[in-house]
Subunit: 160 residues, 2 copies
DNA sequence: CACAATTAAATTGTGTACAATATTTTATAT
DNA sequence: ATATAAAATATTGTACACAATTTAATTGTG
């Protein structure tokens, strides 16, 4: 059994403990919303929302996966994914079909239209990365920092 | 008129352009959701959601402000804030009242209960910062990086 | 085999996020 | 002074995010 390693609380002077400007949490939250807004007009041309685009990113990497495995990849669950996938299906980009071997599972796969969309989508992240004003090195560093932050939060946070 | 300064697109090898793991955008998105989930059980004890907590953070800094000024501070608008503020009012933490001088404006101010909540909330960000597994220096650095990312995205992104 | 436990999705209900529109009040320009 | 524009908030409609519950299929156990 591994020991759980948590750092001691960083100490702020009392006045600043709740200062919103100093709180990385709010910076994270507002930066994430700004990012989604930045994607919106670009993805709108493909008739996609940002979460729908994320699902397609996963499928473009590996087609025909279950709802569960999509959820693990995207840190999401069926409560979010099921209605989202139904919308993607209605748009004609994916198919949802029960697995023949295990009828509990639903296999999500790309349609021809969904596959074709990948080419059009290729320029989207490039355009966004320009808007960040960050260099490639900065983007990669930030990516790693955010992934380890996410990992730590998932590991150390109590589940209700 | 200032020249708009945007960096040239970072170049990825073609195969990796759409790799979800390499996309800082997804790391940002998923880390932000993880952060909100980490806050959830702590804020639930105060009967607050994370966006409601953000509103109170602003009010604890400066009480009695308009919906607009709250929105500027939180990068949000009346479409989001109005229903949220109504819930906070129903919970008894804030008051909403039309300004006497300018009846278009709504002044949001803390109730006694809302002010008292600040003491109970003090331990929340401390607990969260432990869960991040980051040192104070790392948190401050990440905070700055995210703020400049947000600033760049707001400046450089086209609006619809 | 029977039946409880587990697993996979779907459903329900609450709370944002946000674009688009509406409403009300104030400011401005003839 | 009156129409017009602008400003501040509210409303409407769509799309998540997520906890909690439900439904259906499969697995494990006696």
């Amino acid at each position: 059994m591994k020991l759980k390693k948590t750092l001691p609380p960083p100490t702020f002077s009392d006045n600043q403990t709740l200062n919103i400007d100093l709180q990385m949490c709010f910076a994270l939250y507002s930066a994430s919303l700004s990012m989604t807004k930045a994607y919106k007009p670009l993805l709108a041309e493909l008739k996609l929302t940002y979460p729908q685009y994320l699902v397609l990113l996963v499928l473009w990497e590996k087609d025909a996966v279950t709802v569960n495995s999509l959820g693990e990849r995207l840190f999401s669950d069926s409560g979010t994914l099921t209605p989202l996938l139904k919308r993607l299906e209605k748009l004609g980009f994916i198919q949802r079909q029960r697995s023949a071997e295990d009828e509990r599972k639903v296999i999500v796969s790309l349609t021809k239209e969904g596959k074709q969309l990948q080419k059009q989508a290729a320029s989207v992240p490039v355009q966004i990365s320009c808007n960040t004003g960050c260099s490639l090195a900065e983007l990669l560093l930030l990516n790693e920092q955010l992934i380890s932050l996410r990992t730590a939060l998932i590991k150390n946070s109590i589940k209700t």
